[in-house]
Each structure stands twice: as structure tokens, then as C-alpha cells.
């Protein structure tokens, strides 16, 4: 898999506080990477280091295959929106865009208008941005992040403080940009449920430690309703399950068979296996919400740390 960004054991220490502890993330090109963590988990610190707004105490990172020192002096194709959109409230959206555009050496008013149209702000071009709603400001921040035609866009808590309508607007814009312009996104949030609607890969971070990197498919597999079966003859068991009329099942690397459909027929499946002389040593029905999965994971980390 091609990665647009890789960090290698990034650490950041503020005084006695270790904000980041050997964090290694891998952001696939063309994906939407959801960086999940509670407030104070180290998400913003990580994103600031990647965006060259802060320096790491140790470790390194590669963007587009180049280390940060190799990228010095180059115009890196990254757009950022860290913490809050840095906008001048008394100026219009066009003026705010123009300032950043000129700073990047781009003088293209058509592109500014096109970007504002893309984020749905083309009807308020001249309005002072101080009068914008929070969602509109976030979308303006995103438009500003897109000025240099970036291949990677870093958004820190883009849905923070937004109302449900604002969240949908921002989410749709991200999906559209990813789909139509093949822009890779890194989005941080503490609301996993919201990120789950757009992210393709997750990095779960807590207390400065990256707990897990997991794809959306793998996460869904772990969280959706399923039957977990452990047998002494998985090959035969799989054949019986298929004959039972189940097609959505998987023999996992952990030695268990997972069935994702007809989960209400747990007893019947057990009976079918027993009838065919397949010894079943484990059978359970499990489900977990994404939020619970995240909470359990971070709680385990807290337990380890406190131990």
C-alpha cells in the first residue's frame, strides 16, 4: 500500500508531560484517515508536528516519501486547518482567501471563486466572515486549506461545535473532495460515530500513545452483530455453514469462524454442526457499538498505564 504520510516513533515532551509517545501512523494515499482520541489525547500535537507548526522531541515523519528535513524549502502540497480556521472576521471570504492565496504565490481569483463554490459559500462572497455561522467558518477554513491544490489535507476537529446540519455539510464536503479530487484527508475528532461515516482508516490515540490503526472494514467486522464459532474442524464447519444457506461468513486468522448474517439462528447453526460431528468448543453471539469499542480500547490503555 502506498502511504502519503508515515510517522516513525514521534514523541513530544512539554516539560514533564509526554504529549506524544512513539507514535507511528500510516496514512494511505487517497484515504480518509480518522485520528480518534479524547480531548488532550495528543491529536492536535501530532497534527501540528506534521504541519510544521511544532517540532517533535524525537522521531521523524515522511510526507510524499520525503523526511521533514528533505522537504525544507519546498512547497509542500499540504492544506491544513488546525484547531480553528485562521480568518480575519472583518474581512470577506474572498479577502481571506486572497491573503492566503497571495502568500502562497497564487493570484487566481477564478480558483478562489471555484473553491468557495465547492464549499457552498459562493452566495456570501462579500459578507464579513465574522457574521458567518460556525459551520460556514469551518467550510471557509477548508476552502483556504485547499488553495494550493493540496494532495493531503489535515483537518483538526473540523466538526467541533457544529450543529447537526453543519456536521453534515462538512462531512459531505470532505467526502466529495476525497471522491472527486482524490485528496487524502487526515481528520481528528473525539466523536468516533461521526468520523465513522467518512473515514477509511482509523488511528486511535490516547494519552499520547497510538493504541491501534484499523481499517473501516476491520472495525465494522469487530463491531457489527456476529456469531463467533470455535471448532476442531474449521474446514468442515465452513462447508456446513455454507450448506445452511449462509454466505456472509469468514474464517479469521484468530482461528474462529465469524458469521455476519442470520445471527438469530445461533442455536440452529450449533445443532447443524453437532449433527455432522463437528465438535464446537466455542459459540457466542457478540456485538459492540463503535463507541463502545473505542471506549473499551482506551479504558484498557488507561488500565495498563495505571497498573
Amino acid at each position: 500500500m502506498e502511504y502519503i504520510l508515515e510517522t516513525n516513533s514521534l514523541s513530544k515532551i512539554y516539560g514533564r508531560n509526554k504529549a506524544l509517545d512513539n507514535v507511528s501512523i500510516h496514512v494511505p494515499k487517497g484515504g480518509i484517515y480518522g485520528l480518534i482520541g479524547r480531548n488532550g489525547a495528543g491529536k492536535t500535537t501530532l497534527l501540528k508536528i506534521i504541519s510544521s507548526l511544532a517540532t517533535a522531541s524525537s522521531g521523524e515523519f515522511k510526507i510524499f516519501g520525503k523526511t521533514s528535513s528533505e522537504l525544507k524549502g519546498e512547497n509542500v502540497k499540504i492544506g491544513t486547518l488546525i484547531e480553528a480556521p485562521g480568518i480575519y472576521p472583518k474581512l470577506s471570504a474572498v479577502d481571506n482567501m486572497q491573503i492566503k492565496s497571495l502568500t502562497m504565490g497564487i493570484n487566481d481569483k477564478q480558483r478562489i471563486n471555484a473553491l468557495l463554490e465547492l464549499v457552498g459559500l459562493d452566495s456570501v462572497l462579500k459578507k464579513p466572515v465574522g457574521k458567518f455561522s460556525l459551520g460556514m467558518k469551518q467550510r471557509l477554513g477548508m476552502a483556504m486549506a485547499l488553495i494550493g491544490k493540496p494532495e493531503l489535507v489535515i483537518l483538526d476537529e473540523p466538526i467541533n461545535g457544529l450543529d447537526p446540519q453543519g456536521i453534515i455539510e462538512v462531512r459531505d464536503t470532505i467526502s466529495k473532495l476525497n471522491r472527486e479530487h482524490n485528496i487524502t484527508f487526515i481528520i481528528s475528532s473525539h466523536i468516533l460515530e461521526e468520523l465513522s461515516k467518512v473515514a477509511t482508516v482509523y488511528g486511535i490515540i490516547d494519552k499520547g500513545v497510538l493504541l491501534e490503526e484499523i481499517t473501516t472494514d476491520a472495525l465494522m467486522n469487530r463491531c457489527t452483530d456476529k456469531i463467533q464459532i470455535g471448532t476442531n474442524d474449521n474446514e468442515k464447519a465452513c462447508r456446513i455453514i455454507k450448506e445452511f444457506g449462509i454466505s456472509d461468513f469468514r474464517l479469521s486468522d484468530d482461528g474462529f469462524i465469524y458469521i455476519f448474517e442470520q445471527t438469530e439462528k445461533c442455536a440452529e447453526i450449533n445443532f447443524a454442526l453437532a449433527k455432522e460431528d463437528v465438535p464446537v468448543h466455542h459459540l457466542s453471539k457478540c456485538s459492540e457499538s463503535i463507541e463502545n469499542y473505542y471506549i473499551n480500547l482506551t479504558d484498557r490503555n488507561g488500565g495498563n498505564k495505571n497498573a
Binding site: S52, G86, I99, K100, L102, G105, M144
Partner: protein, 240 residues
Amino acid sequence: MLNVIKGDLYKMFRMKAIWILNIIYVVYNFLTCYLLSEFDEIRTIYGIASNIPTLLSLFVGIFMCLFINSEYKNGYIKNIAGIVTDKIHIILSKIVVSAVFTVISIIIYMVTSVIFSLMFFKLVDFDNIVEALAYLGVMTLLCIALGMIAVMIVTAFRNGALAYIMTVLISTQFIAVLLNGLWTILQYKEIVSENFDISLIFLTNYFNTEADNLKGFIVAVVYIAVSSVISIFAVKKKDI
């Protein structure tokens, strides 16, 4: 580098503060010319130049505080710090902004002063225009230096309020009076040399006086250089 300057200048000319400060300045200028004409009939161009009020330095300082502080306050610095090829450009661009604002203010001052003087005085003498320009050049540098002190305070301490306070105290010569007093005490206690006049290193020593232009030039350049170096160090080393 040029792009950062372009962005900063665009922002500067969009800020209402630049025009509000200069309008106040013109009104002040009008009143000053009118009052001076009550006591005199002739005004020289050098007299106009050397009469640049403390208000100019104060306004340059306040404008630069507003300018740099807003970048940190609204988070705009985060938009640009990651995209510039070298963070030095952010600070060097502020020298240009400070210079442009100062030059605009001085031009407005000189043009309106001449116009108001022609209105209120019987004669305006343009003979010593070269001396006037030399003095204005040094004044420009001194004002840039004050602006860069404001930039240094905001970038190094991230404290806008401190920058405003220091700017006001420096331009109104409060700091100079304070340090002069302190220096006198130290001289009296024989802790420091009696031969050194500390006021020579004050920026404000060269405001509103006909002091040696060369000394003023050196002091201004040293302040600009030191403030810029500290600001560059802060912007490069401190996390944003």
C-alpha cells in the same frame, strides 16, 4: 519571500486601522498647523519634517501590534507558518509592512502639513529640503524599529497586551525617563561609568529633535536587527 510580503501588504491595506489612524493624524496635523500659525508667519520644510509628532511613532507601534497580534489571535499564523518555505520570511515581511505603513504616514504628514501650512502661514520655505529628507529617512527607520519591537514582543512572548503597553511607554518616552532616572542612580552609586550618556541608545532620543542623523540611523538599524533576530529565533524555535 515576495509572496509573504504580497499577502501581508494585501492584508494591511484591507485593515481599517491603517486609514483610521491616518485620518486621526491628519486632523491632529490640521489643528497643529492652525495653532502654530497663530505664533509664526514663516514655516520651513525642515521645520515641518522635524516637527513630526510622537503620535507617528505611537501609531506605527500600535498598528504593528494590531497587525502581528491579530495573526496569533485569530490563528492566521497557523495557516501560513506551515506553508512558507522558511519562517524567516514571516518576520522579514513585517519589516516591510512596518516600513510601508511608516512611509505612508510620513507622506500623508508631509503633504498635509505643506497644504495646511500654505493655508495658514504667509510663507513656506522649501530651501532646506535635502536636510528634511535626511531627517525623514532616519525617522522612518526609528519608527520601523519601534514596530519591530512590537513584533518581537508578540512573537517571543505571545503577549499582545504587553506589546501595546511597551509601545505606548516607549513612544511616549516613559521608558526613557525611567531608565534615565535609574542610570543616574547607578552613576551616583558609582556602579556605572559617569562618562556614558545612556539616552544615546534610546530610540526616542531622536524623535522631535535635530540630533545627529548618523547616530539616529545607527541606533535604529541596531534595534531593527536585534528585534528581527529575536523574532526570527522565536518564530523558528517556538511551537505555534
